[in-house]
Amino acid sequence: MKRGIGHRVRELKVTLWTLIVPPTLWAAHFLFSYLWAAISCEKVGYFARFPITFAVGTGLALVLIVASGLIAWAQTRTPGTPAPHDGGTDIDRLRFIAYSTMLLAGLSFVAVVFTAIPVMLIGDCR
């Protein structure tokens, strides 16, 4: 059954657009964090320490980034061509984009965590 999922994941279309999914999630989370803080500080005047919206938004972003990274990881293991996977074949091209996507997912994960840390440490509008 597990192999079936892996196979289906590899069938997913891989394009330049899927490459930028993880960093786009980071960007969305970053914008959300910035607007959330700016609007709550300007309009409400304060925000509660570690409020639930922010936690949910961050959790969602991290889950989606991990999911895109896992899909990409499964795709980097598409069998069919010999190492080092830098040739002019469909599979090598797919493995390349998938591998880059996976790396970007890692970077985006770290960057989202970086964005979340200040909220835990600062927690007010001063």
Partner: protein, 851 residues
């Protein structure tokens, strides 16, 4: 017609065995690509090998000029209480130095170098829109001379390269210089966006058959990433420029706190541009390393996907850094912390690519050539700048260092190590590609060490003078501060650096006296080194089939096969300039595209457009309007005569049994992509304006404010305008669909209806603020509403012109159903127009009630 799979192509060479056949092909290609000659006609050239060189030389001259400005500043600061230049002149010097280095050297230089290199790297005969490159160049030259020359008339901009209001928006505090900056550089931003469109479409659509995304030279990856960054970074500045000039010319109070405006909005818009800008100029220089390091390590670059990670990751993160230039403005600490976090995170991808380079050098057999010396030396300088960058990304440290010479030291380490010295390395590396001659190794090495010593002597002491309290942008300092020695060291260093640059210039000037060298002098593995010392203008003899990242190293007999025309498109039978368009992911051949030929139209269009900006600077509005109309006429003439031409036959053989179309329309064509990309930039500028609206909402307890002249525009007219835009959009979309099915008359009717709907929406969109008597000089609310309404209705007007253009093409018989690229392209515009209208009219019409 779908793209044929390349695996089935049997590379059949027999036809090319006959030398007579090859000579005849070469004669035809040579005739087709012959550059226009003669004192005047030569300037009508559009071929990338000429335009790219003009572009590079112009940017280089602007760099030297801006460097001289810096030397004057250093001379002024050499000793305390100096009076070499006045405070006013000093203000002009540092403003122009920064602005020219950024807008007239660093960004255009990347575009210029890419215009030369990219077609070579991609085995294309030229980029897809050669005339657009030429237009970009002429715009750059006119705008650059206008901005740079202003200092000779003592009217150069003097508000700092970031032009902070209210100093620069108040016409009693700042004169013509601020207008020259805004309008002159806006003009150059237009040319930057034009170049970005050209480069993105070039990388995505003009790769040689078989060059899949994973085989693309890393330079092309970087260019793709940087060009996309330009699309998202420059438009917010253009939006800011619009607001800024509205305030200066019409007294609309966007940045005037007394009437509800906020100077911080300008800082946001400027730095949303300004920080990605740093990476826009850094990444292309690093891209040069990614080309020359494998050559001199004599091996493939290690970690190809990691470099792609670094480029894409840096591009994204760089848009989350802008507020770190605003740490001292009193924003909530939590906001600062977000940007501080992103500023630290961006060090990760930046570091990754440097480690890839080091690993490649480590694993290879290194040849210590002059270009590699520049590369490694500049990495050392860049790393020092990177480390101080991590320091100033920490907000409390930045509060201490802000606006001191510490920051000057930091940014010059980054820019010298990350942009200027790599470019000199690239100059030594690629000079043989352009001229067929190597530069002097000896002079190059001496120049490097002089510059390396000069840079460190000039900028390292600034860390200390900054920490000791020396402020930036002040024309002198008292002797009691004890900064004399450090400043003298900086001045000596600056002149030493300039001596190094002068040595490079001497080396360049000696080049014409030297003999031509051999082909591919560095034994590189990538396609651009197919270029022959005896320069041919056709770009590449035949478009190769690519199977490796380093085809010259890895594919047997590669150079001979290219030279003997054994690959694709070895001929120009119909006497037309052509190159191959391929698919985005796998580079399967899609189309043979006919390229623009030499023409004065791009130059005249640039002159007319320049007139709009330059005449507006001097408040000559009627003349500027005349230039605007001329620009429109020029563009329509250019498009009508030069684009979407119906070919004499449906398809063309490119050799090896492949026949591909001469005309395609819709999402696989290069024109569609160009429209899509241009509209992405346009939508980004628009979102900058919308950001302004909501920004004002957040800072005002009551927004919209109550009172006479501020009660509008109501919901009715905006909603009516929106309905009309959507009607025009739907008409265009349906027209495109039924036109493709052959219902030409019905499609024409729909287009005619679309024109009327667009024009009516123009009137309705302006009617809202007009009839409710919103007075834009009174308060920022009416001003921003008017701005959104004018922006959107202007787009409706352009939409109507496009619909009329397509209708006229159809009536003139230039757009039969099988050749409907124009209709596809204007539909893309209409999609974006509909989106703009929905956001704009919902914001101005519905948001006041919701708020």
């Amino acid at each position: 017609m779908t793209a044929p799979p390349l695996d089935d192509v049997a590379l059949d060479h027999t036809a090319q065995n006959d030398p007579a056949v090859r000579t005849a092909q070469e004669d035809r290609l040579r005739a087709v690509w012959k550059p226009p000659a003669g004192l005047f006609l030569r300037w009508s050239d559009v071929n990338n090998n000429r335009v790219g060189i003009w572009y590079t030389l112009t940017a280089f001259v602007f760099m030297l000029f801006a460097g001289v400005l810096a030397l004057v500043m250093r001379a002024q600061l050499a000793v305390p209480d100096n009076d070499l230049v006045s405070a006013n002149t000093f203000n002009q010097l540092f403003t122009l130095h920064g602005s020219m280095m950024m807008f007239l050297f660093a960004v255009p230089m990347f575009e210029a170098v890419s215009i030369i290199l990219l077609p070579q790297l991609l085995g294309a005969r030229d980029l897809p829109f050669p005339r657009l490159s030429a237009f970009g160049y002429w715009s750059f030259l006119i705008g650059g001379v206008f901005v740079g020359g202003s200092i000779f008339f003592n009217v150069a901009p003097d508000g700092g390269w970031f032009m902070y209001p209210p100093l620069t928006t108040r016409t009693d505090l700042s004169g013509l210089g601020a207008d020259i900056w805004m309008l002159g550089l806006s003009f150059i931003e237009v040319s930057s966006v034009a170049a970005a469109v050209e480069l993105i479409v070039g990388v995505l659509k003009c790769r040689p058959p078989g060059m899949r995304l994973n085989l693309m030279p890393l330079y092309a990856w970087y260019i793709l990433v940087v060009a996309v960054m330009i699309l998202f970074a420059f438009p917010p500045l253009i939006a800011g420029d619009v607001l800024f000039e509205m305030e200066r010319l019409l007294d609309w109070p966007f940045f005037d706190a007394a009437r509800g405006g906020d100077p911080l909005l300008w800082q946001h818009l400027f730095w949303i541009f300004g920080h990605p800008e740093v990476y826009i100029i850094f990444l292309p220089s690093i891209a040069l390393f990614a080309m020359l390091i494998p050559t001199f390590s004599q091996r493939h670059l290690l970690g190809y996907p990691w470099i792609v990670l670094a480029a894409v990751g840096t591009a994204f993160l760089s848009f989350g850094l802008w507020v770190h230039h605003m740490f001292a403005t009193g924003l909530p600490k939590i906001s600062l912390a977000f940007f501080s976090a992103a500023s630290e995170a961006v060090a990760i991808p930046t570091g990754v690519q440097i480690f890839c380079f080091i690993a490649t050098l480590w694993a290879g057999r290194v040849i210590w050539s002059t270009p590699l010396l520049y590369a490694t030396g500049s990495l050392a300088i860049f790393v020092i700048g990177g480390l101080t960058g991590v320091m100033v990304a920490v907000a409390p440290f930045d509060w201490q260092a802000h606006d001191t010479y510490f920051i000057v030291a930091h940014l010059h380490y980054v820019l010298l190590g990350g942009t200027l010295l790599p470019l000199f390395g690239g100059l030594y590396y690629y000079w043989p590609l352009v001229t067929g001659k190597k530069l002097s190794d000896r002079l190059g090495r001496i120049a490097f060490w002089v510059m390396f010593a000069g840079a460190n002597l000039a900028f390292f002491p600034m860390h200390f003078s900054g920490l000791m309290g020396m402020p930036r942008r002040v024309f002198t300092y008292p002797a009691e501060l004890g900064l004399g020695g450090l400043n003298m060291a900086s001045t000596i260093g600056a002149f030493l650096f300039a001596a190094g640059v002068a040595l490079v210039c001497v080396d360049l000037c000696l080049s014409p006296t030297r003999k031509k060298g051999k082909r591919n002098p560095w034994n590189a593995g990538t396609l651009e080194w197919l270029a022959h010392p005896e320069d041919e203008d056709w770009g590449i003899r035949s478009v190769p089939l690519i199977e490796s990242r380093y085809p010259i190293w890895d594919q047997p007999g590669f150079v001979e096969k290219v030279d003997e025309g054994r690959f694709f498109l070895p001929d120009a039978e119909e006497g037309r300039r052509e190159t191959i368009v391929t698919t985005v992911l796998d580079a399967r051949p899609l189309q043979v595209v006919r390229l623009g030929t030499p023409s004065f139209k791009p130059m005249f269009t640039a002159i007319a457009l320049g007139g709009v900006f330059i005449l507006t600077t001097y408040h000559l509005y009627w003349a500027a309007l005349g230039c605007g109309v001329t620009t429109l006429a020029m563009i329509l003439w250019w498009l009508w005569t030069g684009t979407a031409e119906i070919p004499e036959k449906a398809g063309k053989s490119i050799g090896h049994g492949l026949t591909i179309p001469l005309y395609i329309s819709g999402p696989s064509s290069s024109g569609w992509w160009a429209m899509f990309i241009t509209m992405m930039a346009d939508a980004t500028a628009f979102s900058g304006l919308v950001f302004g609206y909501y920004f004002f909402w957040t800072i005002h307890p009551e927004f919209p404010p109550a009172g006479p002249g501020m009660d509008g525009p109501g919901a009715f007219w905006p909603m009516a305008a929106l309905a009309l835009v959507l009607a025009g959009w739907a008409a265009t979309l349906v027209a495109r669909i039924i036109h493709a099915r052959g219902q030409v008359s019905a499609a024409r009717g729909l287009l005619a209806f679309g024109i009327l709907a667009s024009l009516a929406s123009l009137a309705a969109g302006l009617a809202g603020p007009w009839l409710t008597d919103l007075r834009p000089t009174l308060h920022v609310y009416p001003a921003i509403v008017w701005t959104l309404a004018i922006w959107t209705t202007a787009h409706s007007g352009i939409g109507a012109i496009m619909q009329a253009y397509a209708l006229a093409r159809s009536l003139a018989g230039r757009m039969p159903p099988a050749y409907d690229a124009d209709l596809h392209n204007i539909t893309v515009y209409q999609h974006f127009l509909a989106l703009t209208a929905i956001v704009a009219y919902a914001t101005i019409g519905l948001f006041p009630a919701a708020a």
